[in-house]
């Protein structure tokens, strides 16, 4: 595609400035670059493909509308992630009109567990069943984390963000980011201690 070729090599920040000046083609390139990451974050936070698509679409529209407030030289990625993650957290708060604690473990009582849909994060249905088994356990364990803890784990390990970037995305002080990450890791460590070799872990090691 000619659009992809003409923007190649331009940093996200330059594209954001062009977009802010009304260049929708520059914004289309930002959408192309970020669609998998922001949709992925929405999917992993909401656990529902349709909701993730709606949230991610709304996030890009909000990003476009907020470009007037984008400061020249500000890094685009944490700024875009912040808008997206705020939207996801809002959706989780409003979901089915329930009051959902964003900091308390969601699987604390068995009743709530039964009502929760099994997260469907799979993007490749042809995957081998055995591989899915391990992956589903990891996904289930992450899904059981309180959303605010899930967010820091995903930003750190899926998006490979630094503590500073996570602080910028979440708006939390650095100390709180480290503390949440520590607690989230401890919860996951206990939940995944039984995970067998030959599952998601083995695949990640081999890649």
């Amino acid at each position: 595609m000619s659009v992809a070729r003409s923007w190649a090599g331009l940093p996200d920040e330059k594209l954001a400035e062009l977009s802010a000046a009304g260049d929708t083609d520059a914004f289309a390139e930002l959408v192309r670059r970020y669609q998998d990451r922001l949709y992925g974050l929405a999917l992993r936070l909401t656990g529902d493909r349709q909701e993730a698509e709606d949230v991610a679409q709304e996030a890009f529209i909000n990003i476009f509308r907020a470009l007037g407030r984008y400061r020249r030289g500000e890094r685009f990625a944490p700024w875009a992630y912040k808008i997206t993650s705020n939207l996801c957290i809002d959706h989780l708060r409003r979901r089915r009109g329930q009051v959902v604690s964003l900091d308390a473990p969601s699987g604390a009582d068995g009743e709530e567990d039964e009502q929760r849909p099994i997260p469907d994060w799979s993007s490749s249905p042809e995957k081998v069943v055995l591989e899915q088994e391990g992956e589903q356990q990891v996904l289930q364990a992450i899904d059981e984390l309180p959303p605010n803890y899930r967010l820091v784990v995903l930003l750190r390990h899926v998006d490979d963000m630094t503590y500073d970037d996570i602080a910028a995305v979440t708006g939390l002080p650095l100390g709180t980011v480290k503390n949440r990450l520590f607690r989230a890791r401890e919860m996951l460590r206990r939940k995944l201690s039984h995970l067998r070799q030959g599952t998601a872990e083995a695949r990640s090691v081999s890649t």
Partner: protein
């Protein structure tokens, strides 16, 4: 130094953000503390499995759908809508101010002593306002 004191350093060690001195402190502690060795290995395992999840791709046609909405929105001249609402707000405030002033002047005329200077000024202003609104 206790395990609790080193927890932040150990976490940074796993994330590869420690300086050489902090790394040495973490390694010295790990060499002698089995609990922390298990903990750090567990964290590394968590990092591997989470990072090793199948990458998520946006659904087919997602970017096109987003851009369709964006282009539709960009085509709407937003300034007009903002200007219109601002103007109608200004006009309604003008009417409210005029009405308020007329009521105040009416009260002065009604309550004030007949033929006083205040009553004469109020009558004059009222006639002026009425002629403005009547235009």
């Amino acid at each position: 130094m206790s395990c609790a004191d080193l927890m932040e350093t150990l976490q940074m060690y796993v994330d590869g953000t420690t300086d050489p001195e902090e790394s040495r402190r973490a390694e010295d502690h790990l060499a002698e503390c089995e609990d922390c060795r298990h903990r750090v290995e567990g964290w590394r395992r968590v990092a591997r499995v989470v990072a090793g999840l199948e990458p998520v791709m946006a659904p087919e046609g997602f970017a096109d759908r987003v851009m369709e909405s964006i282009r539709r929105e960009a085509a709407v001249p937003r300034r007009v809508a903002i200007h219109d609402s601002h103007e109608s707000l200004t006009v309604s405030w003008t009417w409210a101010a005029a009405a308020g002033l007329m009521i105040a002047l009416g009260l002065v005329l009604w309550l004030g002593p007949e033929g006083s200077a205040a009553a004469n000024v109020a009558r004059g202003l009222l006639q002026f306002l009425a002629s403005l609104l009547g235009r």
